[in-house]
């Protein structure tokens, strides 16, 4: 059986990546912190997709590669598949995970009451968006290893669901 560690180990690392880069190393430069966090994810995605495609034939087109991310790749990482895949057939793909593990314990900022001071919600939103650069980097790294260069962004306006938008560069 493949080796496993407790989920808390992975969650702790993620928390520390974000807090180290945002609160210690690049305190007043969130865009630099974001880029570093994304780069860490990219590295991980790149290596993992290399491992998980070792015994596969080449993917015939973009859709095949994206399907691999949605099914096999996602299952290895999260023990579930992407729940919904949409595409405009012009290089944009939306991958929706209805219960994305890494945001499942985040509180939603929108329905947290209206009496809040302005700014608190924004800060929370900024903090949660920082946690998305890592998985976005993983997807971009995985696809890049399959020869597809793309940009990946994420949307968590509907927690605990998370949508990743992949725009393939042509």
């Amino acid at each position: 059986m493949a080796r496993e560690v407790s989920e808390s180990c992975m969650d702790s690392l993620l928390t520390e990546i974000v807090s180290s880069y945002c609160n210690v190393l690049y305190v007043s430069k969130p865009e630099l912190a974001a880029r570093r966090i994304e780069a860490i994810g990219y590295q991980v995605g790149h290596q993992l997709s290399e491992r998980y495609t070792m015994e596969r034939p080449r993917f015939s087109d973009h859709l095949e590669a994206i399907k691999f991310i949605c099914k096999d790749f996602w299952s290895e990482l999260f023990k579930k598949q992407i729940d919904n895949l949409k595409t405009n057939h012009r290089g944009t793909f939306v991958l929706q995970d209805d219960k994305f593990a890494w945001v499942s314990r985040m509180s939603s900022t929108e329905n947290s009451g209206s009496t809040q001071e302005p700014g608190i919600g924004n800060k929370a939103a900024e903090a949660s968006s920082m946690h998305l650069y890592f998985p976005c980097g993983i997807i971009r790294g995985a696809l890049s290893n399959l020869g597809i260069s793309c940009a990946v962004s994420a949307d968590i306006s509907n927690l605990p669901s998370c949508s990743f938008v992949i725009r393939i560069k042509v």
């Binding site: 493949a2 080796r3 496993e4 560690v5 407790s6 989920e7 808390s8 180990c9 992975m10 702790s12 690392l13 993620l14 928390t15 520390e16 990546i17 807090s19 180290s20 210690v24 190393l25 570093r36 780069a39 860490i40 994810g41 590295q43 991980v44 290596q47 993992l48 491992r51 290895e76 990482l77 023990k79």
Partner: protein, 186 residues
């Protein structure tokens, strides 16, 4: 009768949510790589890894106490055994052994022969001063500090530097008496 201190973390590990260790290992590797690029000095990377570990340790101790059902350890010897057999197992899925006790029973070594952090890892020549697993020592230090034990932790052996095991020396500096932030009669 008080419940016996669990002698192994097997049952707890079997029951916690687990994730693919490759993801964990490669993520840790990518963090170390990125820190080496950003901080440049190996010594700074060691410090940052230790700090990250400390931050994790002070939180993980809560989960450890909640899930392990351990009762108060009678002495530091028991503490070390519990970390090695229960703590390491329930989080990393591996068990450490405890040896090299000093006469006072305040300093010992945790030996780790199997360490998921270093699967796939090889250190390049320019990283010789790096304590790759420094996050682990930080975790142990942070966790013990939350249960009133100040410790100093030093790497004695490191498989990435050619040794036959990982050896983490844990030295108890002082036991901080528990202090309550207020007096009952005030």
């Amino acid at each position: 009768m008080a419940p016996a201190v669990p002698r192994s973390g097997d049952a707890i590990f079997a029951n916690v949510e687990r994730v693919n260790a490759e993801l964990f290992t490669l993520t840790y590797g990518a963090i170390v790589r990125q820190l080496l690029t950003d901080l440049e000095e190996v010594e700074e990377v060691n410090k940052q890894l230790d700090q990250m570990g400390y931050n994790i340790g002070i939180r993980l101790i809560d989960e450890f106490l909640a899930k392990s059902n351990v009762t108060r350890c009678v002495d530091f010897r028991e503490t070390a055994e519990v970390i090695a057999k229960v703590g390491f197992k329930m989080f990393l899925g591996v068990t450490a052994s405890v040896t090299n006790w000093d006469n006072e029973g305040t300093c010992c070594s945790l030996i780790l022969e199997d360490n998921p952090l270093v699967d796939f890892v090889e250190l390049p020549d320019n990283c010789q001063g790096l304590y790759y697993c420094n996050i682990l020592s930080g975790v142990v230090r942070g966790a013990l500090e939350m249960v009133s034990m100040k410790t100093e932790i030093t790497w004695i052996r490191d498989m990435l530097r050619g040794d036959d095991a990982f050896e983490l020396q844990v030295k108890l500096l002082k036991q901080v008496p528990e202090e309550y932030p207020y007096k009952d009669d005030e």
